[in-house]
């Protein structure tokens, strides 16, 4: 979290930027964390930014006390903003007058993952519709089989491409995703019926995974710095974990931990909770451990948190697509959230390729 000297406006560095505009859309100040504004033409922002041009009348009518307007998932083709962003607009009162504050939040990584879900959901839904249409028209057994094989081929192809994408995106060891079953094999008898059923189920799962995914995005835009004790945070997490899952969580503290840090405490809590709760779903007999240590360099504390799970994903247990998707959703979200905070996340296995360790590295300032 940084504070702009001129305006006092706070922003998350690197993944967000603010622009201060007057009512003629002239740019008065910015923090240049994503777009370097000094290279922009000295014309109203609406001239080089079609998005703003299209809603500037509405933005201008905002009053200091009216609620912020929020737009999610915006892409501008061929533009100096190359990713996928959320925008918010509000009018703020500064000493010199009331201005328009436009903030952008970079959610590219998260939304690209979301796009994969959406792509798959839509393609499957279209396949299903086509299949249902054809089924009505199809007369002979042979027609039916041909139609079915065509769809099945597409389906397997889709699944494989999708999981390969996830493997790359998460850079995770293969065994973490081994529960995924990319190949679907079906009996020819009644296959179409079965297939449509399977599709419907999968679509429902995708739908709920997407809903979960989206529920995280707006909240993270609201991060505000606060003071917190890392030891107390981890201890409280351990208590919640035990109460909610009835499983113990061993916590290892380094002998010296900073008393108070400054930063996004809620974000850290969310990340750790997400990792712990997904680890808990791997295997019914696992045990869990959380290790926390810190290294101090000047004003900054490098915090390392490791979540360990002892047995890995259970291979024998039949897992539903729902579990798999949820796991991947959570990991991918955790990755994005850690990135937002300028940190890193790494997943590794032990020698036997079973137990899983997830290591987080995050930097905080001392309070």
């Amino acid at each position: 979290m940084q504070q702009n000297e001129k305006t006092g406006i706070r922003h998350l560095s690197k993944f967000s930027q603010f622009f201060l505009l007057d009512d003629r859309a002239q740019l008065l100040a910015s923090c240049d964390s994503i777009v370097a504004t000094q290279h922009l033409p000295q014309r109203p922002v609406t001239d080089w930014f079609p998005f703003l041009e299209s809603i500037f009348q509405q933005v201008k009518s905002l009053q200091v006390d009216t609620a912020e307007i929020h737009f999610q998932k915006i892409t501008i083709p061929h533009h100096q903003l190359p990713g996928i962003y959320d925008f918010s607009f509000r009018r703020i009162q500064l000493r010199e007058g009331a201005f328009l504050l436009w903030r952008i939040f970079d959610y590219t990584a998260l939304y690209e993952d979301l796009q994969h879900y959406q792509q798959r959901r839509n393609e499957l839904e279209i396949h299903r519709e086509m299949l249902e249409l054809r089924q009505r028209q199809m007369r002979s057994r042979r027609d039916l089989n041909d139609g079915f094989n065509l769809v099945l081929e597409n389906f397997n192809h889709l699944q494989i491409a999708y999981f390969n994408h996830l493997r790359r995106a998460l850079q995770s060891p293969v065994n973490m995703l081994d529960g995924f079953r990319p190949e679907v094999t079906l009996q020819a008898a009644n296959a179409t019926q079965y297939y449509i059923q399977h599709l419907s189920q999968l679509l429902q799962h995708l739908q709920s995974a997407m809903a979960e995914w989206q529920s995280y995005a707006p909240a993270t835009a609201l991060v505000e710095a606060s003071h917190f004790s890392p030891a107390a945070l981890v201890q409280q997490l351990g208590i919640n974990f035990r109460e909610q899952l009835g499983q113990p969580l061993a916590i290892q503290f380094a002998s010296v931990l900073p008393e108070r840090l400054q930063g996004d405490q809620g974000g850290l809590w969310q990340i750790l909770a997400m990792l712990l709760y997904s680890a808990a779903a791997y295997h019914p007999d696992s045990s869990f451990e959380l290790e926390i240590r810190a290294q101090v360099a000047g004003e900054v504390a490098h915090l390392t948190v490791i979540v360990r799970e002892s047995l890995g994903r259970e291979q024998s247990k039949a897992r539903s697509d729902q579990d798999d998707l949820q796991l991947v959703t959570r990991l991918s979200l955790a990755r994005q959230m850690v990135e937002w905070q300028g940190g890193q996340i790494r997943v590794s296995n032990d020698a036997k390729q079973l137990a899983i360790a997830i290591e987080l590295n995050l930097n905080y300032r001392f309070a």
Binding site: S54, I69, F71, K73, I74, P77, E112, Q118
Partner: protein, 165 residues
């Protein structure tokens, strides 16, 4: 110069992005790549010697329009509802969808209903859809061949200018 915001909406996969690309860049791609959120771009056209800047919002398709974030409709002068002639699911609820758009959109906004993918259907199929659809379409297009694509946006642009005067 007058500028107007137009929003492209309808179910997924019906060809909104393809119409957007055909209109703005004169190109078409057979491959389906779903739109996430909203893509915004503009094209300046000339109508009766007047320049008009069309700011087009190509949004992610939803089966039902009430799933589209309300903020996307803010300030839209034109709403283009696209459906796919080959997929009944994309037009079977059209009366309700249009009613919803009328409620959510600006009271003065102009709504156009577009039947897309005309290159994939024959005369007989078109008549069949026309007979069963609850609300007639305003224009029939093919983003692939370009049929009626420029005409759609020009006609809408003309009506928007007339309404503004």
């Amino acid at each position: 110069m007058i500028s107007k915001k137009i929003i492209l909406t309808g179910s997924f996969g019906v060809g909104k992005t393809s119409l957007f690309n055909q209109f703005i860049y004169n190109r078409f791609d057979d491959k389906y790549l779903t739109t996430i959120g909203v893509k915004v771009n503009k094209k300046v056209i000339e109508i009766d010697g007047k320049e008009l800047s069309l700011l087009i919002w190509d949004i992610a398709g939803e089966v039902s329009q009430d799933k589209v974030p309300n903020s996307y409709f803010l300030g839209a002068s034109g709403i283009v509802f696209v459906f796919d002639l080959t997929r009944p699911s994309t037009y079977k609820n059209i009366a309700n969808e249009i009613k919803y758009l009328q409620e959510i959109g600006d009271p003065n906004s102009i709504i156009k209903v577009v039947a897309n993918k005309s290159d994939l259907v024959d005369e007989e199929k078109i008549n069949e859809v026309a007979a069963e659809i609850q609300r007639p379409w305003d224009v029939i297009t093919s983003a692939k061949t370009g049929e009626n694509v420029q005409e759609l946006f020009r006609e809408l642009g003309r009506e928007l200018i007339d309404a503004a005067e």
